[in-house]
């Protein structure tokens, strides 16, 4: 089979169209460069009536929203989840990493929780703080101007609280708390856990003329048809096209490798067109990888050449190493004070939480090194498949009979509707060299590209942190006058409910940045140490996670790297 070459030479090829790729597309196209965006999935626009799931009713589907085809339920706007047909991945024995992939324009930004937290000053200097992991080669002050610009460009609600490690920003006002959130605030107060308004990228008011304002359907995971929440397509790529940017989007195009010349410099990429299953090459002066931390590592490791025998940018042998996800553990409480709800009003609100608890602890006085934040959910949501299962299980707390049938079932459903509150702890794990992804030479995907094999185990640091989460949740539920449900409190035998790595979908660190080319893959501008015209702008260059979500930092660092690329291109340094 002949590889089909395109004669056009782009200024920049961007692989992937999620948060990092979208931001680089916008910045480079706005600066007048000729950009090719290469996306493995199909085109997606949240406003397209054909694919829209927002405001669908459960009864519009024969399965009433069940998650048979989509892991997070059939209204979730991610095409692809832990499994993607024809694109397997493998595990080292005794390990279990779950790899979420959204194959669509905009990637995972179409369904994510929109929790938009800045990393704080301490988060960039973990090693200085406790001797574990590594410090970033940059600090909060380097990133702050970009966080500010991201806030203003994309829009994020929240409040300036003057917290040391949860920096203030340029916020629009948050929505008022819902009933269960008032219970949470009250319960947390009793224990001295702080609660503040959430910081999420939905528009509670206008930030420009192009995007709509939130109409409070609570369905951001379905991607907003009026562009009132952040997704990479609606907020970055489409606006860049609209303002006249030279952007060519290649969809259904699965990148195999970065191509290089005799000097070892990148010349472009090769990809498989999923429609005709032929291999093509595109040329560019600069290649930007934004395929997600693990996919970008995979592309680098598969880009072997005489000049780069160990894979591109991998003279350090660090590509794929230091893979780490946020930690996650959860608990659920039945709160009798929330029984017998008055259903006369619509409390959908924004998708997810209106309030949350940033990390409050002092790790120097605890037996685990890094913190976590608490997310809270509950309320009178729209029923979907699974609603009303074990309808009267909470009768147990009143000594009443469980089960049965007849008219009492109706009463029980209504009595308990909206009385459950859930807690999710999302924390920082320690980046370890021993946790990594690598190429599995024994397995190909359906495009003939070698797949990733994962090797990832939690350490005691994360397990102890999860134990602290469980103790905290137990106390919160108690403070709210509730009872723990759905299996009760997790203990040592199940690692305190610590979720499998990858399950929180915040994986970072596979191409970490640093000043020393022997121990890092990129420099502090996301540029490969080994090849100066290749950049990585997804979460791969993260040196460490924080007790935060990674998207806002991906956006800020991608913008920062884009400014550097523009400057270097103008100076003709690359």
């Amino acid at each position: 089979m002949q590889i089909i070459e395109s004669p056009e030479v782009y200024d920049v090829i961007i692989v992937g169209s999620g948060a990092g790729g979208g931001m680089a597309t916008k910045q480079l196209a706005d600066a007048g460069f000729n950009v090719a965006v290469v996306e493995a999935g199909p085109f997606f626009d949240p406003a397209d009536p054909k694919t829209m799931t927002q405001l669908k009713w459960p009864y519009e589907s024969p399965r009433r929203g069940a998650g048979t085809d989509r892991a997070f339920g059939e209204w979730d706007m991610s095409w692809g989840d832990w499994e993607v047909e024809g694109e397997p991945y493998t595990q080292a024995e005794g390990t279990n990493f779950k790899w979420w992939r959204s194959r669509m324009l905009g990637g995972r930004t179409n369904h994510w929780g929109r929790i938009s937290l800045r990393f704080g000053p301490k988060d960039f200097k973990g090693k200085t703080r406790d001797g574990l992991g590594e410090d970033w080669p940059i600090g909060y002050d380097d990133v702050k101007p970009y966080y500010d610009k991201v806030d203003k460009l994309i829009g994020v609600f929240g409040t300036n609280e003057g917290l040391e490690n949860d920096p203030d920003g340029f916020f629009i006002p948050p929505p008022k708390p819902r009933l269960h959130e008032l219970f949470y605030i009250k319960g947390a107060k009793k224990t001295g856990i702080p609660v503040i308004p959430s910081r999420m990228s939905m528009l509670t008011k206008k930030i420009n003329k192009d995007r709509g304002v939130c109409f409070y359907c609570g369905q951001c995971s379905r991607s907003c048809s009026v562009y009132a929440d952040f997704s990479s397509g609606s907020c970055l790529i489409f606006p860049a096209q609209k303002s006249g940017g030279k952007i060519r989007i290649y969809v259904n195009s699965m990148v195999r490798e970065v191509t290089t010349n005799a000097e070892g410099k990148a010349t472009g990429i090769s990809y498989v067109n999923k429609e005709d299953r032929k291999e093509y090459q595109l040329k560019a002066r600069v290649v930007i990888l934004a395929a997600s931390a693990c996919s970008s590592a995979r592309i680098l490791l598969n880009s072997k050449s005489p000049q780069h025998p160990n894979g591109l940018g991998n003279s350090s042998d660090i590509v794929g190493k230091y893979l780490h996800d946020s930690t996650g553990a959860s608990a659920t409480g039945f709160i009798p004070g929330l029984m017998n709800r008055n259903t006369s009003y619509n409390e959908d609100g924004v998708g997810g939480m209106h309030v949350y608890s940033p990390w409050w602890g002092d790790n120097s006085k605890l037996d685990f090194p890094r913190g976590y934040h608490i997310e809270v959910w509950g309320g009178m949501g729209v029923p979907n498949y699974g609603f009303g299962f074990d309808a009267n299980a909470f009768n147990e707390f009143f000594g009443a009979k469980i089960g049965g049938y007849g008219d009492t079932l109706r009463d029980d459903v209504k009595k308990y509707y909206g009385s459950v509150v859930g807690f999710g702890g999302r924390g920082e794990g320690i980046a370890l060299k021993e946790n990594y992804c690598e190429i599995d030479p024994t397995t190909l995907d359906q495009f003939g590209i070698p797949v990733l094999k994962f090797n990832y185990k939690w350490s005691d640091h994360e397990k102890k942190q999860a134990k602290h989460m469980q103790d905290t949740f137990e106390e919160l539920i108690h403070n709210m006058g509730g009872q723990q449900i759905w299996g009760g409190k997790s203990g040592k035998d199940d690692d305190y409910g610590l979720r499998a790595p990858g399950e929180i979908i915040h994986e970072v660190g596979t191409t970490r940045m640093g000043n020393d080319p022997k121990t890092s893959v990129t420099n502090k501008f996301n540029q490969l140490h080994d090849v100066d015209n290749v950049f990585i702008v997804d979460a791969g260059p993260f040196v460490s996670q924080a007790d935060k979500n990674c998207t806002w930092t991906i956006l800020a660092l991608s913008w920062r790297a884009s400014d550097y690329i523009i400057e270097q291109l103008k100076k003709q340094n690359i």
Binding site: P197, Y345, N346
Partner: protein, 238 residues
Amino acid sequence: MDRRKSIQTIILGAGASAIVFHGCKTEGDKTTTDIAHSSDPDFFGRTPEELERIEKLNAETLFNEHEMETIAVLSTVILPPKEPHGGPIEAEVPEFIEFMGKDIPELETPLLGGLMWLDHKCNTEFGAEFKTATLEQQKKILDPIAYHDTEVPLDEQTLEIQFFALMRNLVVSGYYTSKMGIADLGYKGNMPNIWDGVPQDVLDQHGVEYDPEWIAKCIDQSTRATIATWDAEGNLLT
């Protein structure tokens, strides 16, 4: 004749007196906007591959007519219809259960086996199939399996207990995800709205209140259409 009609006929024909039909009222304070109307009902947000799979499942038959009728009768015993929001038949619960039995293959055997058990038991005890037995007889069959020991995991219980628990879950879920069930529940969302806090009477009912300092930081909904601007310190100006 469409299948749903035939189920309605058999149930009425079987003289299940508890069942009374009422057209579901779609009353309400629907705030309609262009958003709600812009989506394409033919797709309900499915990709072509997902649609194809649904069509394939729809073309398959899991239950024969007798089994569908038995499910219909059983589902109305589990959740008797009630004015003004009807019951499982109007909510198309039997059709939903059949679809789920095909969509989630693990459900197939417990459902088929459970239905067989039901008739076998009913025939043994009363010389009648479950669907034609009297309500009294049906309850005598169901009572011993409807209240299981919750200390023992469900998958360690007998098949008939598992079957009933599964049926009850599917009936309740199927009903409350239908138009009538949602009306019965009273859920008011899934439509454009402007959230401006919990109503005072609800706060009073649950004994909580808003902290004025907190509320002062929240969005004043009269300013939602005003484009945000900030000073250099991040204080919102407009």
